[in-house]
Amino acid sequence: MPEFSLSGDGLATELVNLAQAMKDVDPDMATIFEAHVELLTGAMNDEQRKAARIAFNSAVRADLISLSDLDA
């Protein structure tokens, strides 16, 4: 698990830091995470969370398929 803690300065800043910290785990995945993580912010109820999840996973999936094409 990477070194990461929240400062309470606001979610936007924290997510940049989280993406940076996650580069230690997997730089490629962290880049994809950073590109789309904003889609997960602002969802305050089940319906919004579901929509955010679908949008996020869909965007991530497209990037993963591109990445796998390179790998293949």
């Binding site: 309470g8 979610l11 924290e14 989280l18 997997d26 995945m29 995470f33 089940d46 969370r49 955010a52």
Partner: protein, 830 residues
């Protein structure tokens, strides 16, 4: 970012406040505790709801109603002719910037329109920023905080601390790795099925290439690492034939044009039978599947049935596959972390004795063995001879008769949804045997036709035709194998990268969740002294000490008592009375609110002291006034208290003239009269009453006269310190004004007899012989019984004048120039 005080609120046409053309306007001071008293039914709750609607676009109480109750139709005041609601707020930045005015209008069609007459570029966003958990607090919120489950309490606490963004993100992030939705979002099942299918194609094509090679070369095919040599051999087998040699000069295996070769053979023979023979040989190659391995098939069927029996036996020990499916669905439901109270059943809303998510998790443990056995069965079927042979035969062209369905996908679906049985396996086996018979019959028919043609053709050309057809089929199979091989690589790469992502997002989730839990714990710890001190201040007890605890990994928050008269770490929910629980919640909420750095620098409290007696009410108010209110506390907030409590009203009234306190009272009799707000100066109340009376609106004017008289009497009582019996002070009933007037007159007469009165003789005469009796005769004796029918506008305007004159009986002109002041008391002039 500036923070905002709420300095003015104007409401028209909203909920219980009609005030058509004459909005209810309240002004609030940033540097004072603002108290607003309202008798029941005079618009206090509507004010609170107006702020809810302005900030959040909804009203909590109406949102909780059933859809069929059409709660939206109750937002606009029912008596407002335009059915439009208008809420205007003036927000004063704490950094000295210009005021921001925001108007929230709800049209008759239900559209919410937000504007800023002062030109704020993003009024909706500002309202969103102001919509913080702590800004609008009522008794229900405090009660819920203690009664909530630990999970819901933890979530509302995050919101209270301004960490709701973090908590919301945490939940959204977690939802992205939830098992079922992850598979669906990333098409994992589709890719896995594709991989299986492609592997079968690869295997079949490899096998058929091998068979064709052996047919042509008369020896076994070695393996695909030598494929180039093997295809060269196949090409050479054709190049060695004189009839074809010229056609294959300089041609590679991939470039062979079999149509040209077959045409050459047909040309040499020049026979229609030759064409038929070529077609039949090709058809034979398609149908010439490798014979079934009966032993493998029987073993597979036996093992699959055995696996099925084990699974069924395991299910007997549990509550059955339907319950298993239900529990799995419930686990998925809770893993997605819906906003559902886990103490309630999602199916019938009944209250449970324990959290349902924990129950589901434990219940699923009994199915752990079942899950393993189900996986075994899945492997036995999808990798077994029965299923693979079915796929192979069902893919043969025209083998299925009209109306027949493929058994392989059907069998797979039943295994996947847990409905497979021995009967289904038997049915698939019978169908497979049927297909085997059809294959044998078809091959027999082809062989018979070939035999017949071969009798009529030279043997050498018959063999040549078969050889060309076999090489052609070998190349087709090789191409099919190459495509499948490429697909296998692509699908495997896709599945691998998705698996890599799954591991990554799980790590991101854990990393963020742990950090969020640590931040919440630290924030909670920092609040500890504040809320414990405030709780002690309100309840005046030292040996009841609350302590909130936040889970190190989850979002749950516990409420315990670190000390309860010598008992340690015991349940606050179980031990504390309602007032103590309320005080605890208030202490937590207000302590958190003061430390909050978000946009609202105000807290509106609506009837939060319902469970308190007068002593505790007083102590809470003193805590707010002396510890939390800005600027007494430089980091403090502006407090706006709404209350209908008569005892608290006395306290508000007493402090109303003090610096740091601003008191107003709502007056009015909705829906008969508009609601108006009055501070220590009742001029507007009197002016409204007179305006109604001069317009002939007696009902509206009459109700305001009562409030004006009540205000003046209480003002006199307070200013000249007239002792009032406790039952008058604490009650609010229809005879209160009459009783107060009697108390005032009695006190004056008592002091007059004692020779201590400070009023002038004429003032006493006016009070006891003129204005007092006039008010009683023209107003008090009729108001409670006869209603407005007994009144006329001129007589009521006379009552207003008598009330003014009655007040004057307790005042003196300081300099003879109209500077009227109240006597210090009944016995002291100044």
């Amino acid at each position: 970012m500036p923070r905002y005080f709420l300095t003015k609120l104007s409401v028209e046409g909203f909920r219980g406040i009609n005030n058509e053309g004459n909005p209810l306007v309240l002004s609030f001071k940033p540097d004072a505790v603002n108290s607003v008293f309202a008798a029941n039914g005079s618009g206090k709750s509507s004010l609170f709801e107006a702020l809810q609607f302005a900030f959040r676009g909804s009203i909590a109480r109406l949102s909780e109603m059933q859809a069929a109750e059409n709660s939206d139709s109750y937002i606009a005041n029912l008596f407002h002719t335009a059915r439009e609601s208008t809420i205007e707020m003036t927000l004063t930045p704490d950094g000295g910037e210009a005021d921001v005015v925001i108007v929230v209008r709800r049209t008759s069609s239900g559209t919410r329109v937000v504007t800023s007459p002062t030109g704020n570029p993003a009024p909706e966003k500002l309202l969103e920023e102001l919509s913080q958990e702590f800004a609008l607090l009522d008794y229900g919120k405090f009660a819920k905080f203690i009664a909530d489950t630990a999970l819901d309490r933890g979530r509302s606490f995050s919101s209270l601390l301004g960490l709701s963004d973090y908590a919301d993100f945490r939940r959204a992030l977690k939802s992205t790795e939830q098992a079922q939705t992850f598979k669906s979002d990333f098409d994992v099942l589709v890719l896995e099925a594709k991989r299986t299918q492609t592997e079968i194609t690869l295997d079949t094509a490899s096998r058929q290439f091998s068979d064709r090679y052996k047919e042509v070369m008369g020896k076994d095919f070695v393996d695909f690492s030598l494929i180039e040599e093997s295809t060269e051999e196949l090409l050479a087998s054709l190049s060695d034939i004189p009839l074809l040699r010229e056609l294959l000069v300089g041609v590679t295996f991939e470039e062979i044009d079999f149509k040209v070769l077959n045409a050459a053979i047909v040309g040499a023979e020049n026979s229609e039978d030759r064409v038929r023979l070529v077609r039949l040989v090709s058809e034979k190659q398609v149908w010439a599947v490798r014979p079934a391995d009966r032993q493998r098939l029987e073993e597979n069927v036996t093992t699959a049935k055995q696996r099925l029996g084990e699974l069924d036996e395991s299910l007997v020990g549990t509550a059955g596959s339907s319950v298993h499916a239900l529990l799995e669905a419930a686990e998925t439901f809770f893993e997605s972390e819906p906003e559902w109270n886990v103490a309630e059943c999602p199916l019938c809303d009944s209250t449970l004795t324990g959290p349902l998510d924990i129950h589901v998790s434990k219940a699923l443990e009994s199915f752990a063995i079942t899950t393993g056995l189900r996986a075994n069965l899945h492997t036995e079927i999808t990798r077994g001879a029965l299923y693979l042979r079915l796929i192979e035969l069902e893919n043969l062209p025209s083998i299925l008769e009209a109306g027949e369905v493929r058994h392989a996908p059907m069998l797979l679906a039943r295994v996947q949804d847990g409905t497979a049985s021995v009967d289904h396996i038997d049915a698939a086996l019978v169908f497979l045997r049927n297909l085997e018979e059809r294959v044998a019959k078809k091959l027999g028919e082809i062989a018979s036709q070939i035999e017949q043609i071969e009798k009529d053709l030279p043997p050498s050309l018959v063999g040549l035709t078969a050889q060309v057809a076999n090489v052609s089929a070998a190349r087709d199979q090789l191409r099919s194998r190459n495509r499948a091989n490429a697909d296998v690589v692509i699908v495997a790469a896709q599945l691998a990268v998705i698996a890599r992502w799954k591991g990554f997002i799980a790590a991101a989730n854990s990393t963020f969740a742990d950090a969020e839990a640590r931040l919440s714990q630290a924030t909670l710890e920092a609040l500890k002294v504040d809320y414990q001190t405030m709780f002690r201040g309100i309840m005046s007890v030292g040996d009841v000490v609350p302590a909130l605890g936040r889970s190190a990994t989850g979002e749950q928050m516990t409420v315990e008592l670190a000390d309860f008269h010598g008992h340690h770490d015991v349940s606050a929910r179980a031990l504390l009375s309602e007032s103590y629980r309320n005080a605890l919640a208030i202490s937590v909420f207000l302590s958190a609110a003061v430390r909050h750095g978000k946009a609202p620098r105000f807290v509106v409290l609506d009837d939060v002291t319902s469970s308190f007696d007068s002593g505790h009410q007083f102590r809470l108010m003193e805590q707010v006034r002396t510890q939390l209110q800005y600027p007494t506390n430089p980091d403090g907030l502006q407090f706006i208290m709404l209350s209908h409590d008569v005892a608290l009203e006395k306290y508000f009234d007493r402090l109303g003239d003090e610096p740091g306190w601003h008191h107003q009272k709502l007056q009015g009799w909705p829906p008969h009269t508009p609601v108006s707000a009055h501070g220590q100066n009742p001029d507007r109340l009197r002016a409204d009453a007179e305006r109604f009376l001069r317009a002939g609106q007696i009902d509206q004017g009459a109700s305001l006269i009562r409030q004006y008289l009540e205000f003046v009497l209480l003002q006199v009582i307070r200013k000249v310190q007239i002792p009032v019996p406790i039952d008058v002070a604490m009650n609010d009933h229809s005879k209160m004004v009459g009783t107060c007037l009697e108390a005032v007159v009695s006190a004056v007469l008592l002091n007059q007899r004692a020779g201590t009165v400070s009023l002038e003789a004429q003032q006493i005469l006016d009070l006891t012989g003129r204005h007092g009796p006039s008010i009683v005769a023209n107003w008090i004796s009729h108001y409670g019984t006869a209603g407005s029918a007994s009144f006329s506008p001129p007589s009521l305007i006379g009552v207003l004048n008598d009330i003014d004159a009655l007040r004057r009986c307790f005042q003196y002109d300081v300099s003879g120039s109209g500077d009227w002041r109240f006597y210090k008391s009944l016995t002291r002039r100044s």
